[in-house]
Amino acid sequence: MELIPILSTIILVATISTFILAIGAYILYKVREAKEVRTTVPKPAEVKGELVTPAAGQEQFPVYAEKSSGYASQRQPIFMSQEKQASQAKFTPQPQQYNAEKSKEAAVASERSRVKSTGSKFLKYTSEGYVTPQEDSKKTGALKWR
């Protein structure tokens, strides 16, 4: 007998059985679920809970914390209270949508305010942006006699 008809018959029987099994199991699940007693309680606006935290005075356990930069092998033990640990969250940058136009405008505005504060009338454009002639002469490192 050829192999394909045998395999086809096996697969056909398996598929039909799976169908029957799936539908049967589903009906059984629905019947079981229907037997369970269900009550819908309206949810209150607020509920009372209980907060269980470690008692005061336990915070001074030595905590081996990683530094925010450096290699993993360079860890040093430091004392870290609960408050200190929480403050580390400041390392997380403030999430904000990047807006190329806004950042450009902000950069130009800060440049203008900086230049205004110098009180200079003329500006020189360099690779580092607009600078006053005085600043530029300082940077160019004009020769000075000792």
Binding site: S8, L21, Y29, G49
Partner: protein, 465 residues
Amino acid sequence: MQRKQPVKRAPIILKNIRDKQNDNNSEGKLLRRILVSGLLSILLILVIIYTIPDTILTTSSLIEYATIVALIIFLFVLLFRYFAILVMAYMYVNEYTYKSTARFFPFVSIIVPVYNEEKVVVDSVKSLLELDYSNYEIIIVNDGSTDKTKEVAETLVGYQKGLRGNIKVSLINKPNGGKSQALNAGIKHSKAEIVLCMDGDSQLTPNSINVAVRHFTNPEIGAVAGNVKVLNRGKLFTDLQALEYIEGLNMARSAQSFVKLVNIIPGPIGLFRKRAIEEAGYYSSDTFAEDADLTLKILANGWKIYYEPNSISYTEAPEKLPQLLKQRYRWTRGILQSIRKHKKLMFNPTINFGDTFILWTMFYEALIWPAMNIAANLFFIIAAVFFGFTSLIFFWWAGLAFLDLVTALYCVAVEKEEFRLVGYSLIYRMFFILIIDVSKLMSTIEEFLGVRMTWGKLERVGASR
């Protein structure tokens, strides 16, 4: 783990998030839906009967041609779906491999919601104390458990010895209000910028936080989805689910991550920027897939979501068929509820195109794909039983099994998983996926009809013991 330590108890008031009242169960609406869909079906049949004499087709040949065309479309969609996911997942893995990592250790709060988890809560917290990360705390939220979970959890409160120092473990006891309310209570209590939400029965691998938090250096990232794996393997259903998690869920997540639009942050492990959760209005209780709902809300606010394959969480999968059906029933209805909640974004791509795309793919995976798979199987059964085309079903199975085998090989290699799982790909589609798809289709019909449902709770066995 240290013995019971002195604790401080304080009463707290927890505000519930007000959800929109779901009026989909009203009988009038239900009857109207049945009536409208019935009338539309009758109208379509009448149009076909009326116009068929004008064509060269007879009724039987129309059915034959329609079936063949439907099958070709199905085959095309199936291949397109597989290759699109595979290519995008490959591109994501490629990108991931060459990306450098920065040292970044923000403070993280791990929220562990527990409800009747006395068997597994200790193992969960133990796995959390072995994390290769120092700057974190654990907040257990006991959601009104009726067993000894409260007593067991109280023994864990204190400063427990972790892998990199002492880790603060707190507990919030609250009346039962569902997982979403429990997670909200923990998130609100947290002072951290980043919160890790997980299931009470899940266990994280040591570098789960370490590898995931680095993505938050990108200010556009609002959340990072972790990699969920099956803990209790060794049985037919759990092994098949282990393969499904790798081949079906994780590969799809990798593909979505290529465009930073992961559509579901899994319940067993998800890291969120707290601000992203606050902007999204916390977890809601008006759907049965609170994780999918929150993910869609975060995406709608313009945040990007990434997938981190090395941030692994092991979870217990249902071992018996009724439990599996219960879980999938809840997932499907929850996803459909979430899609319906965000339907404005679905039909208006100008608001957020990424969200529209994600919602349509979710709709396709939850509704169209299972229906197509069942229809194709029914066609081959009818062709074999009534018309004698028995060999067709063999070639159909062989084609799909080959596709699944190749995909399983790729996924197992990428995830460095157990090689024996590849063997299950031969029965994966014809047996496992068919059962799941029948459950999905039934759930979809029930959701459409507005049949009431309950949350349900899976029996845990404490597999790691």
